[in-house]
Symmetry: C2
């Protein structure tokens, strides 16, 4: 069950500290007795642990609850504002930055436009400005940002470098994590946008109850992200989910065909009205999506397939034909749902990634 290194009594304290902190974070505010019940520890132990956590700044005492029976219990709350994380999507034409506290609550958003043809350094600068503006605007000191994560299209390796980008000019080779780390002088991570969007769905979206998830992100290109056991599965080189590069799948020009002479919104609307040609085009698009998705689904056999990106909001007009085609292609047909988040998903997933890093490295969870 556990790959824990052996140790002495201090290990015990560490384990109990982590469990208590987890419980308190989940509860928000709790009394010693409550935490004891939750964790299974004695009140005294919980108290000792909380003292320590209080000294470290992660926990504060809050005024006791009034009107209850018996002696009022001291109440403790997780100090979500002890630190912050920033998540940012560095997209083709937009930048979305989010600032969140340690509780995962997003405090501030910041958006910026960026020219699709902008050079790498311009794009990076726009991202940097957006992140700084986001933090400054919320009145948070820059030094209180403990981690940054960035999501972008293309293949991002495990060091956070963009090892291949097709859509963004000069983007291949950019050390995204390395550069983002300098913005706040903290650790930084970078990952593929579809992967992060998947993470966001698993965190607070449609994939909350799924463990293995395939997220198909529809945009100018179609990409995919994979979660295995609730965790990011980037693959050896960060290329997991890149099924679109397989010519047989046809993801490369799926979007182009959909919007031959009209905007995507128009096509979907027409299809919804019953327009024959539009229906056919949507169906073709759905079939193409389904072929690639089925390849992923057959490979991974996920609990859930999430459709996200720009076209996801049209809902059943697109979902229904995708489901239909998928059912024909897969042995084991996963549930198909639309993404919960609009264009905030990637940044939100980046927040989650940064938060996970903080939890692991700093809080020691």
């Amino acid at each position: 069950m556990t790959e824990l290194r052996p140790g002495d009594a201090s290990l015990l304290r560490k384990v109990n500290t982590q469990a208590t902190l987890r419980a308190l974070r989940r509860e928000g505010v709790a009394t010693l007795t409550q935490l004891g019940r939750i964790t299974g520890l004695s009140r005294q132990t919980v108290e000792a642990v909380l003292d320590e956590l209080g000294e470290r700044g992660y926990v504060k005492e809050v005024p006791p609850d009034e009107g209850a029976m018996g002696r009022p219990a001291r109440r403790f709350g997780f100090r979500a504002d002890a630190g912050h994380v920033v998540g940012v999507e560095v997209g083709g034409d937009t930048i979305v930055a989010a600032l969140a506290d340690l509780g995962g609550e997003v405090i501030a958003w910041e958006r910026a436009e960026v020219d699709a043809d902008a050079a790498a350094h311009e794009r990076l600068d726009a991202a940097r400005r957006a992140c700084l503006a986001c933090v400054d605007g919320a009145g948070i000191a820059r030094t209180r940002v403990w981690a940054v994560a960035a999501g972008t299209s293309g293949i991002v390796d495990r060091t956070g470098r963009v090892s291949l980008s097709i859509t963004l000019p000069g983007w291949t080779g950019v050390d995204l994590a390395g550069l983002a780390g300098r913005w706040f002088g903290c650790t930084a991570l970078a990952a593929n946008d579809a992967n992060l969007a998947a993470l966001a769905e698993h965190w607070r979206g449609s994939a909350r109850h799924a463990s293995d998830v395939v997220y198909v992100m529809m945009g100018r290109r179609v990409g995919a992200g994979i979660l295995i056991g609730g965790r990011l599965h980037p693959g050896r080189a960060g290329a997991a989910g890149e099924i679109g590069t397989l010519r047989q799948v046809g993801w490369e020009d799926a979007a182009r065909e959909l919007v031959k002479d009209a905007s995507a919104a128009e096509v979907f609307e027409a299809a919804l009205r019953g327009d024959r040609d539009a229906r056919r085009r949507v169906d073709r698009y759905a079939e193409t999506l389904a072929i690639g998705a089925s390849a992923l689904a057959l490979a991974v056999d996920p609990d859930l397939l999430v459709l996200g990106g720009g076209h996801a909001r049209v809902g059943d007009v697109l979902l229904e034909p995708v489901r239909r085609h998928l059912a024909e292609l897969c042995v084991s047909v996963p549930e198909v749902v639309a993404s919960t988040f609009g264009d905030e998903g990637v940044a939100l997933g980046a927040v989650r990634l940064a938060l996970s890093h903080v939890e692991q490295e700093i809080l020691g969870l």
Copy 2:
């Protein structure tokens, strides 16, 4: 890092016991001081832990080493013979059973032929007999078998039932794990054969140093198994890796085309000699394999791709063209190697699966 439940001091002992047992199992035989160095625990603690393990029957003291300097140290050994596991491949025309001790050492093999058209109950009976013969022949009491695992072609769900089998008559719906459990009156597991073969390669074969592995099993049908993080990834319904069912991939009749009018061995040999037609046919076969494999590789982006099954032993005649085609299809090209094991891989993987179960459930590792 750890999702450990909090606890009192006895948790500490549990953790340390596990660590010590792990170390001793790896070392085979060791002194207290050695184990202390390895685990980082004090000699006294190791001694107390070993006492306990000795009482439980997992550890025995062995004669001290002679001829060494200083006072001879007591030496302890893992009692690999404290329990046993059985792994069995229930194949289309052969049954391979293996009996192993807790150290993972295979003590006995047993093979049996079975008619390809045999009914499910005949096949099951043959498997049962092979397993029992394997255990009886080795002189091990049947009650000392702690777990059984079976591998078979087709989709096996997480309860160990064959939910879909294309090749074996009447095989769909068979509760393989449930039935195998009755053979020895112990817990039983069942999984897809390619998955188990992958596990075997990761355990003791070509995939020892890889964490994410795709195993492509070439036989009458082509199947695939996936390891993520060194662990089996069966997927929600056990259908992970079933990329072959995608028509575009063409795995369904790859084997048939290869052996149109000659045996596979003949074709490979002719290709090796330089025969044009044979070369073309091998190349076509390799391309078909590569298309499906690339779909899996693109989805999962594994560290390693292992080619196994009957044709794997021909080596580079097949590997080279597969590598070539794969390189054209994949963004991130994994290393490609041949399987280490012949037709023992599945049974060996089953042993590993059973062993993992024992380690987790019984030894509490």
